[in-house]
Symmetry: C2
Subunit: 357 residues, 2 copies
C-alpha cells in the first residue's frame, strides 16, 4: 500500500494583488524565504514521498510555471484542470489518478500556498495522519492549535477524549464556518476548537466513496474521467466533463456531512497567508514596526509593510500602511483593510482594466 501527495496549486490568490497576477498567482510567489510557496510546499514533504508519488493539480494557464517551479517531478504528475471547480473536483481528480496507480493507495492533500514554520512537527503530524487513515479507512484532517481568535479561518470542534489514547488524535465533532470575533474568542477559550488547515489524509478509494455518497453528480463525472484514463480519449473526455462538474469545496461537500472523521492536532506554525496583512503580521519587524523588502528610503514611518519588486519606495511620516510595488502597479492600503484587496481586483475587471491583473 503506497502513499501519495497531492499539492493543490490551482488557486488565484487575488488578495496578494498586485504581486499576484492572473499570470502568476500567489502559490508561485516568493513571499517568505527564498523559494515560492509552491516550492516550499514540496520541500516540506519531499523526505516523505519520492518524486513520482507527488501530484500537482494546476490550471492549464499555469502548467508551464508549475513545471518550472517543481522541475523535479515527472511531467505526467501535473494534473491539469481545464477550469477551476473548487477543491472537491480537484481532489476527486487526483484520487482517480492515484487509484489508477495503486487501488489501495493513501493520499495527502495539501494547499500550495500556505506557510508552515515547523517542518519536523509537520512531518510527524502527517505520519500520524497516514497511520490512522490506513488503519481505519477513515478521513483524517489536520487541525491547527489556534494562537489567536482568528475570524478568517474555519474551525474544527473535536470530541473530548483522545482516540484510543493516541496523543493529539481526536474524533471530529463538527466543522464550523468562519466565526465572528465573539465566537472565535470563545472557541479559543474552550481549547476544543482548531483551525481548519485544509490539509487532509485518506485513501483514494475512501474519499471517492464519500464523494459518491455525498456528491453523486461529481462522482458520476469522475467515473467517466476514470474510465477514459490511459485511453487516447483521456484528454478529450477531461475537457468535456471537468468544466461541467459541480463547483463545490471538499469541506462543504464531504467533510461537513461525514460522521467518522479523525483530526490530528498540529502545532507547527501554520498560516494560510490569506492577505498582505497576514504576511505583514508574520514578518519580522524593526524597532519602528517596519518590514521592508526591496529598495526603500524613509523618514519617520511606523508599522508599515513595504514590499517592492524593483522600484524605489519612499515613505515619509506614514503609519499602518501596506505599500506594494509590482511592475506597473503601486498599492497603498491600510493594514486593517488588506482582505478587501480583492475588491480592487473586482473593480479593475469591471472597468476593463484587466491589463493590471
Amino acid at each position: 500500500m503506497s502513499r501519495f501527495a497531492v499539492i493543490m496549486a490551482g488557486g488565484r490568490g487575488e488578495r496578494f494583488w498586485p504581486e499576484s497576477r492572473t499570470e502568476k498567482p500567489k502559490q508561485f510567489l516568493t513571499l517568505v524565504g527564498e523559494r515560492s510557496l509552491l516550492q516550499q510546499s514540496y520541500d516540506r514533504i519531499k523526505d516523505l514521498f519520492p518524486a513520482e508519488k507527488v501530484f500537482v493539480v494546476v490550471n492549464q494557464q499555469h502548467l508551464e510555471l508549475a513545471r518550472e517551479h517543481l522541475f523535479e517531478l515527472p511531467s505526467e504528475n501535473f494534473l491539469v484542470e481545464p477550469a477551476g471547480r473548487n477543491t472537491a473536483p480537484c481532489i476527486g481528480l487526483a484520487a482517480v489518478h492515484i487509484r489508477q496507480r495503486d487501488y489501495e493507495a493513501s493520499m495527502l492533500v495539501l494547499p500550495a500556498d500556505h506557510m508552515i514554520q515547523g517542518k519536523r512537527d509537520f512531518v510527524d503530524c502527517l505520519e500520524k495522519g497516514f497511520a490512522w487513515a490506513e488503519k481505519e479507512d477513515s478521513l483524517v484532517t489536520i487541525g491547527i492549535n489556534p494562537t489567536r481568535p482568528e475570524t478568517g479561518y474555519g474551525y474544527i470542534e473535536r470530541e473530548e477524549e483522545e482516540k484510543d489514547k493516541d496523543p493529539a488524535v481526536f474524533s471530529v465533532r463538527r466543522f464550523v464556518e468562519k466565526p465572528d470575533v465573539k465566537r472565535a474568542k470563545e472557541f479559543v477559550r474552550t481549547g476544543r476548537y482548531y483551525w481548519n488547515s485544509g490539509i487532509f489524509i485518506w485513501k483514494a478509494s475512501v474519499i471517492l466513496k464519500e464523494i459518491e455518497n455525498h456528491i453523486p453528480e461529481l462522482s458520476q463525472g469522475l467515473k467517466t474521467i476514470e474510465k477514459a484514463c490511459n485511453t487516447p480519449q483521456a484528454q478529450k473526455i477531461m475537457s468535456e466533463v471537468f468544466p461541467g462538474l459541480p463547483r463545490i469545496s471538499i469541506d462543504y461537500g464531504v467533510m461537513e456531512k461525514v460522521s467518522k472523521i479523525f483530526m490530528v492536532q498540529g502545532d507547527f506554525g501554520w498560516d494560510d497567508l490569506g492577505s498582505w496583512g497576514a504576511l505583514a503580521s508574520l514578518s519580522e519587524k524593526d524597532a519602528d514596526g517596519m518590514v521592508v523588502k526591496g529598495p526603500f528610503v524613509g523618514v519617520d514611518n511606523a508599522d508599515c509593510f513595504v514590499y517592492s519588486k524593483d522600484a524605489l519606495i519612499a515613505a515619509l511620516g506614514v503609519q499602518d500602511l501596506i505599500i506594494v510595488q509590482s511592475d506597473d502597479v503601486f498599492l497603498v492600503c491600510h493594514k486593517e483593510r488588506t482582505q478587501e484587496v480583492k475588491e480592487l481586483v473586482q473593480m479593475l475587471k469591471e472597468k476593463e482594466m484587466e491589463k493590471y491583473l
Copy 2:
C-alpha cells in the same frame, strides 16, 4: 528706454521629487494645466515683451530642455550659469547682459516655477511696477496679499500710506524671514504684511549699482564678466569667474539692506508651489477630498493627492496621503509632511542612490 524680462530657471525644486529629477527639475514639469511651469511663466508675460526682450537664466545641464520648452526665444537669450550661485549672481548676470543691449533698460525678474491664476491682474501689477522703477530709479518688488498665515514664505512689511496716493503702491518698511505660526497670524491680522513673491522690477543699472554698494565681491566679478561680453573670451571668462561668485540671495544681499524700495500690492492668486502639499491644496477635489491624476483604482479613501506618471495607483482605506509615482520611484507621504521630501532626497545622496534623483 526699453523693458526686458528675466526668467530665473536655474532651480532644482527637490521638493517635487520623485517627479522632479536632477535631469528635469520643477520648472520643467507640467504640474498644473497643460504647459510646464516655465512655459506658463513665459505665457503670462509674452504680451508685454517681444521674444527678443525675454532672457532665461538656466544651468548648463538644462539648457537644451529650456530651449525646447521656450523655442520661441532667440538662442542667445538663454544665459547659462556654469554653477548655481543663488539669485544675486543670477540677477546680476542678467542685468549685465541687458545693460549691454540698452544702458537705460529696465527689467522684470521672475522665478520660473510659480503659479499665478489671474494673468490680467498680474500684468496690470507689472505695468505699475515698471512705471515706478523707471520714474524713481528705485527697486520695486511685488508683495502678495496673504490669504492664510503661511509659514513657508518670507513677508514684506509696508509703510502705512500709499506712495503718492497711487493705489496699491507702498514704500517697504522691511523684509521679514519666514515667521512661525504665531507671528504669521499676527502679520495677516495687521493687514500691513505681504508675501514676498520674489518678483522684482528695476533698471539694470540700478540693481548693478546696489550690488556694487552691498555685495562688492559680486560686483567685482560681474564687471569682469561685463568687460568680456561680446569678445571671444566671453565664455572662458564666464566659466572662470562665475563659479567663484559669492553664493547669496538678492533678498539677503540687497533688498534687506536698501532703504528705498517700493512694493506693488498683488492680488492675482499667486503660489510658489513649494511642495506636493501646496499643489494638493490648490487642486480641485472630488466629494471625498481626492485629487487624482493618472491611472487609479480606489476603495474608501479620503483627502489624498494621487499623481501617477504612468503606473496604476491602487489605494484602499487610506487618508491624508500624497501618493506619487514617477518612473521607478513611488512616494507615499503624509499630507502635512511634504516639506520634508527634500530630506528623502538628501538621504538618497548620502546612501549613494543617486540613480533615483
